[in-house]
């Protein structure tokens, strides 16, 4: 048993190493502008925020729609604290160079982004986590909208640059960076889910009354799940800022939360691997694979393909999503996970079945 566990771990690490090597090699072969890298970067960022939302919606049973707000907090925290001092006068041109006149190292700022989001989550969690299901969703959605409005307020301009862009902060060039950061964060979330606290979260999801009667402090555990989920949403916000190279509060609309919710639902509520797979599929479809539908001048031979025009991609994309939801009513993965141990067990079972067949023949 222990030996097999070790084997599985080594195998998993080998797969991860292979993926990273492959990404590095591809980055040297393919042109920099290839859409593959956009998908890898944005996909890994969305994977992280989707998994963090799944921790809340899928594993703790708290229907929250504040994810875009916490990403905004993370993105702004990262941007505000990393713009080089020499660039601040140019960025904060309407606000006398801003009130912060120092900058932090990238990694410190990323962690700070998570902490700020977590801190706000803790505060907002005190009143709103008493609410249930739809009411909680509305309260968190409201919070996200308030945050977005607040960050565009001129009076806070010294910190947030009002409704103007924040830019010229350090960004990443290689897709290895977001993949690695998201990978580590998702690994931590998975470890949390498999720990005694994760089991308590699932108990709250399955039956709150029974969970409380068995000594699980509901308020404490819900707040914990909410804060941790927001911490990782904040980190993904920081990564998104780096990906976009600019930050503006107006980008973090509730539509962004719905996109993430869509990813979680399609991947399977309560499945981490489902969320990861569906993030990459979602980003690949919306950014890359369906692009050709936007080209109005498409000819097959002499035949002018009708209907195609800018924006048509979104129509097809919606149909694809509806089809997926109809075909996989509990999402691509349901609530199961892909794991090395699971695959090994399945293979072993298949082998045993085949051997039995041979014997019976």
């Amino acid at each position: 048993m222990e030996k097999e566990k070790k084997k599985d771990l080594i195998f998993s690490l080998a797969v991860i190493a292979f993926v990273f090597v492959a990404v590095v090699v591809l980055e040297n072969i393919l042109p920099r502008t290839s859409m593959l890298f956009t998908v890898l970067k944005k996909g890994s960022i969305y994977a992280l925020v989707a998994v963090s939302m799944n921790l809340l919606n899928g594993f703790t049973g708290l229907f929250s729609l504040g994810q875009a707000g916490f990403m905004l907090l993370g993105a702004y925290t990262y941007a505000v604290f990393t713009i080089p001092v020499s660039q601040r006068a140019a960025v904060y041109q309407y606000f006398d160079g801003g009130i912060i006149q120092f900058s932090l190292p990238v990694f410190v700022a990323i962690i700070l982004a998570g902490l700020v989001a977590a801190f706000f989550a803790y505060l907002i969690g005190l009143p709103v986590l008493k609410l249930k299901s739809d009411y909680l969703a509305i309260a968190t959605l409201g919070f996200a909208e308030i945050i977005r409005a607040l960050f565009q307020w001129d009076k806070l301009g010294g910190l947030t640059n009002g409704s103007n862009l924040l830019r010229r902060f350090p960004v990443f060039k290689s897709s290895v960076f977001p993949l690695a950061v998201s990978g580590i964060c998702i690994a931590v979330i998975v470890m949390l889910i498999n720990s005694t606290y994760g089991r308590a979260f699932k108990a709250i999801r399955d039956d709150e009354v029974a969970a409380e009667a068995m000594g699980i402090n509901l308020a404490h555990h819900k707040r914990m799940a909410f804060t941790i989920s927001s911490f990782f949403a904040g980190i993904s916000g920081a990564l998104l800022a780096m990906f976009q190279t600019t930050v503006q509060a107006a980008q973090f609309k509730s539509a962004m939360t719905y996109e993430i919710l869509l990813i979680v639902v399609i991947g399977g509520i309560g499945s981490v691997s489902g969320s990861v797979i569906s993030s990459f599929l979602f980003i690949a479809c919306s950014e890359w694979w369906l692009r050709f539908l936007d080209n109005a001048d498409t000819y097959i031979g002499a035949f002018h393909v009708p209907l195609l025009r800018p924006g048509f991609r979104k129509v097809v994309f919606s149909v694809v999503i509806m089809a997926i939801v109809l075909l996989y009513q509990r999402g691509i993965m349901g609530d199961s996970e892909i794991s090395v141990a699971g695959i090994r067990k399945k293979l072993a079972a298949r082998k045993a079945a085949a051997a039995e067949k041979k014997v019976s023949k």
Binding site: S195, E212, M214
Partner: protein, 278 residues
């Protein structure tokens, strides 16, 4: 003279104008099996919900192992509406949540089975061990509590062995037959290391054989785990066989108490169950 484990004084639970439990007092001594019986809607489960902190009582208090754990008195709107007795006798306001009560050592099962449906039999019991943890969220996430985790798993396996659920440990809890689901609920309650076990209709929906098994089973876990048991039950054979003492409720009020023989002979009980002679 054995020690009193649980003591309820003048517990009244009033929802608006409806008095679910009316000035009910009872006590349970160390090692006893005490039953709470009465017709449907008599307020038995409400009494359990008051003890376990689900509802703060309107009036009265509860002692556990000599320590006052719950106390309340009519306040606000209830001051005018209050229909029970003992008003003004209690002044403190002590309103713990169910998890705090469980931590003190009172565990319960539910009338309508409330297992964690997506979890295996093993995990249902393991999760109930969560409240006796010493780890915090960081040490648990980064597996610094491996020793505790291992110990919890061993204890869970042992508990399942004693209760005869070890062979089905990996099954989903909803796949078990009804009787075993009830037994699993008891296992889960025992996993919290209680000294007082509250069973809410443990024999509901069981066939006669399962009920006979349950009678032996409740006695056995009482002795094995050095428990005190308080139970709500409709199954009279079970109640009369197993109980040391019985409290009878009707329309929220206590109508009789005593040993099974005394209660069976009490005319008030007979009329509550069978109706008055015309």
């Amino acid at each position: 003279m054995s020690r009193t484990v649980l003591e309820m004084n003048d517990i009244t639970m009033q929802f608006g104008g409806v008095v679910a439990v009316n000035s009910f007092s009872m006590h349970v001594d160390q090692g006893e099996i005490v039953s709470l019986i009465g017709p449907n809607g008599a307020g038995k489960t409400t009494a359990f919900n008051v003890i376990t902190g689900v509802y703060p009582p309107t009036n009265g208090n509860v002692f556990f192992n000599g320590e006052k754990i719950i106390e309340n008195h009519p306040r606000g709107k209830m001051k005018k509406l209050y229909a029970g007795t003992g008003n003004g006798k209690y002044t403190e306001h002590l309103e713990p949540t169910p998890d705090m009560i469980t931590k003190l050592g009172i565990a319960r099962t539910f009338q309508n089975i409330r297992l964690w449906k997506s979890q295996s039999v093993f995990d249902n019991v393991l999760i109930a061990k969560h409240l006796r943890r010493t780890s915090n969220v960081f040490s648990a996430t980064f597996r610094l509590n491996a020793a505790e985790e291992k110990r919890q798993r061993e204890e869970t396996a042992e508990l399942l062995n004693i209760l005869g659920l070890y062979d089905v440990r990996d099954n989903n809890c909803t796949s078990l037959p009804y009787g075993l689901q009830r037994r699993l609920e008891i296992a889960r309650a025992l996993a919290t290391n209680p000294s007082l076990l509250l069973l809410d209709e443990p024999a509901a929906g069981m066939n006669p054989q399962e009920t006979i098994d349950l009678t032996d089973f409740v006695g056995k876990i009482r002795d094995d785990f050095k428990l005190t048991v308080c139970m709500i039950e409709h199954h009279m054979d079970l109640v009369m066989n197993i109980s040391d003492r019985i409290y009878v409720l009707n329309f929220g009020a206590l109508i009789s108490k005593g040993t099974p023989a005394e209660v069976q002979a009490d005319p008030a009980v007979i009329s509550a169950y069978l109706g008055e002679d015309e």
